[in-house]
């Protein structure tokens, strides 16, 4: 391979360079800036680890660090407890509720956890519906939402599908013959489970658990809305917004967040690497299933329905809150009204229009970038093309808080010509943050799409006289259109509820998108109703988006794709 470009390489090379420049400017430089500042003495500017020493000397930060770690770990535990029976039922028994369980795996993902957090407080808080009933009937209450418990509760209900989906996939990929040959050689019961089923399902479980851990560890919106500030992400946010962008502590926390992100991504990849345990052979499929006895059936349905109620409670609570008049010290709101929706549509439409504009633009940029990256990586032999893929995917490991802080630091002194204000406070920066953060989703979707286009179809076009660019235009893009569209919808839906980077970059109310609006409203008791109404609108956005993307993928993929989960982060 020579560095001299042939004429057919020139176009892709230019596109590749532009994308690389974009990623450098809006991902590498801001994150690098954050890391740099974290290791810099605030007064002398010298390289130092004194900031980290200061961080661990401070009892508040030590507590925050411990709390974040505790909350993330406990969320994994609770999420595992919810997922395991569900995964087990579907793979072990001929269970009629399988479709129900699959639905269970999607419902939480269509609502960002911070949206439902306040509603959960009204349902499960110290004076919430459940505890009022418990107190009335049995004379005791459960501190579901007390302090860190609340964060753990909300997060695990939201994120358990990551474990459920991965674990179910792992279990159903175990071939019956694995189990039968173990039985044939004398193993059964628990021993069989411990020696065969468990090790084979382990990689899937670990991958899911690592994802849950990091999502919770990085989450900013949920603790903020539950008013739990002694955790890392809220501390970073509070330091930067209250003390200012020159305070090193926000950067130190950012570095810790990035380090943990990388660590869990690494764990998750390690778990799956070289362990393609898909043992299903032709005609086989899944572990041995057996029919349930009637009392077992009752038990199974009981567990599933209990979890379903739990999973639906944020949605249910949010709906009640959005239609309720006053809801305080009562099982249900006093009365119902549509006043909150009227308030939203008369005073807060700018949140919705801003979101449509921002998320729409971000999703558009995402699919353009993703299509170009997919083409350059999979269809050209340019030197270093893989780095585009790595670079764009690396955004997954960068928490929104870090992007937000990085942008503030990097672009507060960059003035945009003509409009005469820093780039960091221009609304376009929010679009860019959304673009960078959602690019990995669009990219995976576009890469999957281009991999399904046989190279032969392109060669046939070239053979009949179409140049490379004509071939891209007439063959590649039309054939990728399903994946591109699905990527657009996913990016749009998830960008629409992006909070952790947005919250830092919103410089004035009129520029704020939906997620920020929900956060603002939820701050005051009076704003909860309209906030919930906005929340319902957000859930509709994401829900319709997720459904549309699902339908598009189903329709365009005749080949069955391995189950993958595309989830939002906030």
């Amino acid at each position: 391979m020579s560095l001299q470009l042939t004429s057919v390489q020139r176009g892709p090379a230019v596109a590749g360079l532009l994308i690389a420049l974009f990623l450098l400017l809006f991902l590498v430089v801001p994150v690098g800036q954050v890391i740099f500042v974290a290791f810099q003495d605030p007064h002398t500017g010298e390289a130092t680890i004194i900031n980290f020493v200061d961080f661990f000397r401070n009892s508040l930060f030590r507590e925050s660090f411990f709390n974040s770690f505790y909350v993330a770990s406990m969320s994994v535990v609770i999420a595992s407890i919810i997922s395991m029976p569900l995964a087990y039922f579907t793979t072990r028994f001929n269970f009629g509720g399988t479709a129900l369980i699959q639905t269970l795996g999607i419902i939480p993902l269509i609502m960002p956890p911070f949206v439902g957090a306040v509603a959960m407080q009204l349902l499960f808080g110290a004076n919430g519906s459940v505890n009022l009933l418990l107190d009335e009937w049995f004379g005791f209450t459960v501190p579901f939402m007390e302090g860190l418990n609340g964060v753990i509760f909300v997060e695990s209900i939201h994120y358990f599908p990551f474990i459920l989906i991965n674990l179910s996939a792992a279990l159903s990929n175990i071939d019956r013959s694995m189990e039968e040959s173990a039985q044939n050689l004398g193993a059964n019961g628990l021993r069989l489970f411990r020696r065969i089923v468990f090790p084979l399902a382990m990689p899937g479980y670990v991958a899911g658990a690592a994802l849950v851990f990091i999502k919770v560890f990085d989450d900013l919106g949920t603790p903020l809305l539950l008013n739990v500030n002694t955790m890392l992400a809220p501390q970073a946010y509070l330091r930067v917004t209250s003390i200012g962008i020159s305070d090193p502590m926000g950067y130190v926390i950012s570095v810790i967040l990035v380090a943990f992100s990388l660590l869990s991504l690494w764990v998750s990849m390690r778990a799956l690497k070289g362990k393609d345990y898909a043992t299903v052979q032709k005609g086989g499929g899944g572990l041995m299933k057996r029919d349930l006895r009637s009392w077992e059936k009752v038990g199974c349905y009981g567990v599933v329905i209990l979890i379903l109620l739990l999973v639906l409670s944020p949605h249910f609570g949010l709906l009640l809150l959005s239609f309720g008049t006053i809801w305080s010290y009562a099982v249900l709101p006093d009365a119902f009204t549509i006043a909150h929706y009227i308030t939203v549509f008369s005073t807060a439409t700018q949140y919705i229009t801003n979101t449509l504009l921002y998320a729409g633009l971000a999703a558009l940029f995402d699919v353009i970038l993703a299509t170009a990256i997919a083409y350059v990586v999979w269809r050209t032999d340019l030197v270093g093309r893989k780095w585009l893929d790595y670079g764009a995917t690396a955004a997954l490991a960068v928490p929104g808080v870090v992007i937000g802080i990085g942008y503030l630091r990097t672009f507060h002194s960059v003035d945009v010509p003509l409009i005469d204000q820093p780039l960091a406070s221009w609304w376009v920066i929010i679009v860019i943050a959304m673009t960078v953060r959602r690019l990995p989703y669009a990219l995976r979707s576009c890469v999957a799409a281009i991999q399904q286009v046989s190279v032969m179809l392109e060669e046939a076009a070239e053979n009949l006289g179409a140049t490379k660019s004509r071939t891209v235009w007439r063959i590649v893009i039309p054939l990728m259109s399903g994946g591109i569209l699905a990527g657009f919808v996913t990016s749009f839906a998830t960008a629409a509820v992006e909070l952790s980077a947005t919250i830092m970059l919103v410089s004035r109310e009129t520029d704020a998108p939906l997620a920020y609006g929900i956060y603002e409203f939820m701050q005051s008791a009076a704003g909860r109703g309209p906030g919930a109404a906005l929340g319902v609108i957000a859930v509709l956005f994401v829900g319709i988006g997720t459904y549309a993307s699902h339908v598009i993928i189903e329709r365009s993929n005749k080949v069955r794709e391995p189950k993958s989960i595309i989830a939002e982060e906030t």
Partner: protein, 361 residues
């Protein structure tokens, strides 16, 4: 096939070398294919036949050497400027376009007027007999129909050369025979220089005027099918084109006669004309089997052996006969009522001396 003296050859390949990374796939290929000829590349998988075809179309790694089409060097042209029509093994029909759109594609890329495009598409579809299906999607067609559309899509641009990459391999056996006749007929009608890649010698034999047998990136032999079958240049060609008996040994010249002495020490009489060689080759159908003790004339080399195994194949019976430690296969035409030798029977083999070929290797 006659070559017109004024007309340059259809395809000329000169010293073509090509590598995938460190793997040298095509090694100094030289080949001339006449204008209007139906030419086959025949070889086992991995022989480089498809790679050679793709190199002509401009796909794959850039080779060194020259490729001339009707006298013009096309080696530096991108695929879209070569004017060689290729039919892909999997047909490569575009699923998002109708049959008509698929066929019209190449003409649209050439920016021809709409009217002419419609006319030529209609004609091409008519030629493959699928005008009625013009508005369907490729996924609604059978394998054979898809094959015809792929063919129509390629011939509609009136390419200088038609390249067919294992076009029949995805069809079932009956359709394959029909399709190869149709392709041959179409080629004759259009007088189109055609290169057909296949690993199936029967396909190559039945369709092509001449063929090149490839192995490990090297052309082993070029010629008409019968010529290659009867006079293989080496052991590979002999074996690849059909069942062959190969016996190792050396040529011995006595004062009066010429014999081939096998490595196991048996003499086989040869016709005059050979002076050296390390092996002899003859085909099973050129050997007669008869009960031991039958007399033989000069036209036959007589070998004595014992039946080792017997396979009834319908029209023939194939005997494996142990001759002094070498196994010789004999095809005997089966006729009803004729007696059959059993395993263990002692027999005489009469090998047609004319058919014994002495090869160097």
């Amino acid at each position: 096939m006659m070559t017109n003296a004024h007309e340059p050859a259809g395809v000329v390949i000169e010293d073509l070398n090509l590598s995938f990374g460190d793997t040298h796939v095509l090694k100094g290929v030289d080949l001339t294919i006449n204008q209007g000829e139906f030419f086959a590349f025949l070889g086992p998988s991995g022989s480089g036949k498809s790679t050679l075809l793709r190199a002509i179309a401009g796909f794959g790694p850039t080779p060194t050497g020259r490729i001339l089409i009707q006298g013009h060097d096309i080696a530096d042209l991108p695929p879209w400027k070569r004017d060689v029509g290729m039919v892909f093994q999997s047909y490569a029909l575009w699923p998002h376009m109708t049959v008509r759109k698929n066929v019209a594609f190449g003409l649209e890329e050439r920016s021809l007027p709409k009217l002419e495009i419609n006319e030529r598409v209609e004609k091409a579809l008519d030629m493959v007999g699928l005008v009625d299906l013009a508005d369907r999607r490729p996924s609604q067609l059978s394998g054979g129909q898809q094959q015809r559309i792929a063919l129509a899509r390629t011939i509609v641009i009136e390419p200088k050369v038609l390249l067919l990459d294992e076009p029949l391999s995805n069809l079932d056996a009956n359709l394959r025979i029909q399709m190869r006749r149709d392709i041959r007929e179409l080629q004759q009608k259009l007088q189109l220089t055609t290169i057909f890649v296949t690993h199936d010698q029967e396909e190559a034999n039945t369709t092509s005027d001449r063929m090149a047998v490839l192995d490990q990136g090297v052309i082993q032999q070029v010629g008409a099918p019968i010529e290659l079958y009867d006079n293989p240049a080496n052991l590979f060609v002999a074996k690849f084109l059909g069942t062959a008996n190969i016996i190792k040994g050396s040529v011995i010249t006595n004062e009066s006669s010429l014999v081939f002495r096998t490595d196991r020490g048996m003499d086989i009489a040869l016709n005059q004309g050979y002076t050296h060689g390390r092996s002899i080759v003859f085909r099973p159908q050129n050997v007669d089997v008869c009960a031991a003790g039958t007399g033989a004339g000069d036209e036959h080399a007589k070998l004595n052996g014992k039946i080792e195994h017997m396979e009834f194949l319908g029209s023939i019976i194939r005997y494996g006969v142990d001759v002094n430690g070498d196994t010789v296969l004999v095809d005997h035409a089966h006729k009803m009522g004729e007696s059959i030798f059993q395993v263990g029977d002692s027999v005489d083999l009469l090998v047609d001396r004319e058919s014994i070929l002495v090869l160097a290797a």
